[in-house]
């Protein structure tokens, strides 16, 4: 009985925390002034929010002795794809909205890949 209560408390804490993080991510998207700064809040905080929901979904039936595995698949997929979408969005911002003069030098003698001349233009 106490174990079931402990699990209940733990899952509730995960839900509350995850919900707050998801809200903060979307609030940051609205509040931060620069386009590159806005990229920071949702990509990570929202992923953490969904991750918390997935953990709760996986462990929800633990007191009855059942654990679901599909949540792990979704978690792995989100953790793998969040950086990739963020990278694509950052490259789009670099190309369209950032002044190349404000970027630091790459230090290798070659320009940054998104802005280099051999970039194929469709």
């Amino acid at each position: 009985m106490t174990l079931a209560l402990a699990i209940d408390l733990f899952l509730s804490a995960m839900l509350v925390g995850g919900g707050l993080f998801a809200l903060i991510g979307s609030y940051g998207l609205l509040r931060l002034p620069q386009p590159m700064q806005r990229l920071h809040a949702p990509t990570k905080a929202t992923t953490i929010g969904v991750g918390a929901a997935l953990v709760v979904s996986a462990l929800d039936l633990l007191p009855q002795g059942a654990v679901s595995w599909q949540e792990i698949l979704i978690t792995i997929f989100l953790l793998l794809t969040a950086p990739i979408s963020a990278l694509f969005l950052a490259k789009t911002l670099l190309l369209r909205h950032e002044d190349p003069a404000t970027l630091p030098d790459s230090g290798t003698g070659r320009p940054w890949a998104t802005l280099s001349d051999d970039r194929p233009v469709g």
């Binding site: 209560l5 209940d8 408390l9 899952l11 509730s12 804490a13 839900l15 509350v16 995850g18 919900g19 707050l20 998801a22 809200l23 991510g25 979307s26 609030y27 998207l29 609205l30 386009p35 806005r38 990229l39 949702p42 990509t43 929202t46 992923t47 929010g49 969904v50 929901a53 997935l54 709760v56 979904s57 929800d60 679901s68 599909q70 949540e71 698949l73 979704i74 997929f77 989100l78 794809t81 990739i84 979408s85 694509f88 969005l89 490259k91 789009t92 911002l93 190309l95 369209r96 909205h97 998104t114 194929p120 233009v121 469709g122």
Partner: protein, 90 residues
């Protein structure tokens, strides 16, 4: 015991987040911001689907969640590639 209340709280949080996203979608200054907002909305909707699955006590909604995650990711990458390269499939 207190789990249903926590569940309701998180559903409320996600709904508020989706409303904030909608405001951002209509007031966003750049096109890239709109793509970012759509991506965030997909992830928030994904959370909502999963939470409804917990509420209903069935694992069936997880498959819908997988599909939503897949299409959301592919959509974001396709939008960005279109802005970066001018075409999606080269």
């Amino acid at each position: 015991m207190i789990l249903p209340y926590a569940l309701l709280f998180m559903i409320g949080c996600i709904c508020a987040a989706l409303i904030l996203n909608l405001i951002r979608l209509f007031t966003s200054p750049t096109l890239t911001d709109r793509i970012l907002t759509l991506d965030t909305m997909t992830v928030n909707a994904l959370a909502l689907v999963i939470l409804y699955g917990i509420w209903a006590g069935t694992g069936l909604y997880l498959e819908a969640a997988i599909l939503l995650a897949l299409t959301g990711f592919v959509g974001t990458v396709a939008y960005c590639k279109y802005l970066l390269r001018g075409s999606i499939i080269e």
